[in-house]
Symmetry: C2
Subunit: 243 residues, 2 copies
C-alpha cells in the first residue's frame, strides 16, 4: 500500500524576494520521511489572498495532509488564517480558548493583549488548535490542513505537536554509496539496476572535489530486504564504491 | 507598470525526501529581485513525469518567465528534458550542436561520450541552448521556460548566462529598521503606515535574542521617493528603531 501523501505551502514575500532563506521545507521533509509520509509537492506563494486561497484549495483536495508555514503573526501582512477560512468557506473570529492562552501569556510578561496580538486568536470555525510551546500563539488544523508559524523555532515546535497525531506508512530507508567516477560512467549500470529492482528508487547526486568527479548514489525503499539486495547489486556493479 | 512575473520549478526527489536542502530557490530569488522581475511562485515536485509536465504547463501559462532546476544529468532519473518536450507537445532528440560541445569536452578529458552522457545532448525541438561554463552540458530555453541544472554551481553559472537576456522592470529596493519591541506592539502603527503608503510594502520579521523580543521591519518599493518617505514615517512612529 502506498504511503500517505502530503504537500507543504510556504507563505511569505520574504522568501520570494530572496530576503530570507526558507528552512522549514527541509526540516519538514526530513521529519515526514522518517514517519513514512511522502511529501509530494511544495509550493511557495507570496502574502497574497488570492494565491493563498487557491493553493490551499488545490493542495488540500489533491493530497491527504497539507502543512502551511508563515503568515499567522500579529501584523497586517499575516493573512493566512483568514485565507484558510475563505478556502473552506467558513467563518473566522477570535476564539475564547485561544484568547485565554494569549491573555495568560501576556499578563505574565506585563504586556497588553492589544488588538494586533488578539489577531493571533482568530481561528476559523471548526478548527482544532495546535500547541505552540515556544511563543504560545497557537497554530491550528482545519480539515486536513495544518497551519503553522513561519519562524523556524516555532515551526519546529508545532511540527513536534502535530506529528504524533499523524498516521504514517512504512518509513523510507536509504543507503548511500560514494562512487569516484563521473556520473556518465555510472548512469548506464544504474539504469539497469533500477529496472531490476522495481521496489527501490535510485538517485545519483554528482559532486566535484579538487577536480575529481564522482557521485553519491542513493538507494531508497520502504522495503528493507529489497533495499538490502539492491545495495548488494550496487556493490557488485561498482566494486570501487565507498560506503 | 507592473514588473514582469516569474515562477520557478524545482525538480528532484532528494529535496522532497529531506536528503538535500535546496539552495537554488534562494539564489534565484535574490537575482531576480535585483533586476526587477517578481518571483511570484515556486513549486517543488519529484522526479515524476506527470507531475513535472503538469507543473511546466501551468506555470508557463500563468507567468511570463519560468525557471526550472534539476533533472538534466545523464542518469535514468533525469527526465526533465523529455518532460519539457511533452509539456510543449514537441519532439526531442540528440542535437548536433549540443553533441559537439560534449564530444569536445569528453575528448579533452579522455572520457567516452557514451550513451548515458549523450542523453545530455537531447534537446526539445525549437529550444535554444543555455551556456554551461562549469561542466559544459547545456541547459536550454523552450518558449518561456529556462531549463537549468540542479547542482548549485552549475545552476548559478546558467543563471548568469540567462540574466542578460531577460528584460526586468524597476528593481525592488528596500530598507530595514530593527525595532526592539514585541511584534504585537509594532503591528498597530505598522498597519496604519501600510495604508498611508500604498506604493510601499511593509514586512515584519520577528526575532528573539537573549529573551529580547523584536522585529526587523522591512519596507520595499520600486519607487525610491515613496520608499524614502515611508522610512521617514517609520522613524517617526518608532523613534527607538535602529538602522
Amino acid at each position: 500500500m502506498a504511503n500517505p501523501s502530503a504537500a507543504m505551502l510556504v507563505i511569505g514575500d520574504e522568501i520570494l524576494s530572496g530576503r530570507t532563506r526558507d528552512a522549514n521545507m527541509h526540516y519538514l521533509a526530513g521529519q515526514l520521511t522518517e514517519i513514512g509520509i511522502d511529501l509530494k509537492e511544495v509550493r511557495v506563494v507570496s502574502d497574497d489572498r488570492v494565491a493563498i486561497v487557491a493553493a490551499v484549495q488545490e493542495l488540500s483536495q489533491r493530497y491527504e495532509t497539507v502543512f502551511t508555514s508563515g503568515g499567522i503573526g500579529p501584523t497586517h501582512d499575516d493573512i493566512t488564517a483568514d485565507c484558510i477560512a475563505e478556502a473552506f468557506a467558513t467563518t473566522i473570529d477570535v476564539r475564547e480558548d485561544a484568547r485565554a492562552l494569549l491573555q495568560t501569556h501576556y499578563d505574565r510578561q506585563g504586556l497588553e493583549l492589544n488588538a494586533a496580538r488578539l489577531r493571533m486568536a482568530r481561528i476559523p470555525e471548526g478548527a482544532a488548535l495546535i500547541d505552540n510551546p515556544v511563543s504560545v500563539a497557537p497554530g491550528f488544523r482545519m480539515k486536513n490542513v495544518h497551519v503553522m508559524a513561519g519562524v523556524p523555532t516555532v515551526f519546529k515546535a508545532m511540527v513536534a505537536s502535530v506529528l504524533p497525531s499523524l498516521t504514517g506508512g512504512d518509513p523510507l530507508i536509504s543507503a548511500t554509496l560514494r562512487i569516484n567516477r563521473g556520473e556518465g560512467d555510472i548512469a548506464g549500470p544504474l539504469s539497469e539496476l533500477s529496472l531490476a529492482h522495481p521496489n527501490v528508487s535510485f538517485g545519483s547526486y554528482p559532486f566535484q572535489n579538487d577536480g575529481i568527479y564522482g557521485a553519491n548514489v542513493v538507494a531508497r525503499s520502504s522495503d528493507s530486504s529489497a533495499l538490502k539486495s539492491a545495495v548488494e547489486a550496487l556493490r557488485c556493479a561498482f566494486p570501487d564504491a565507498e560506503e
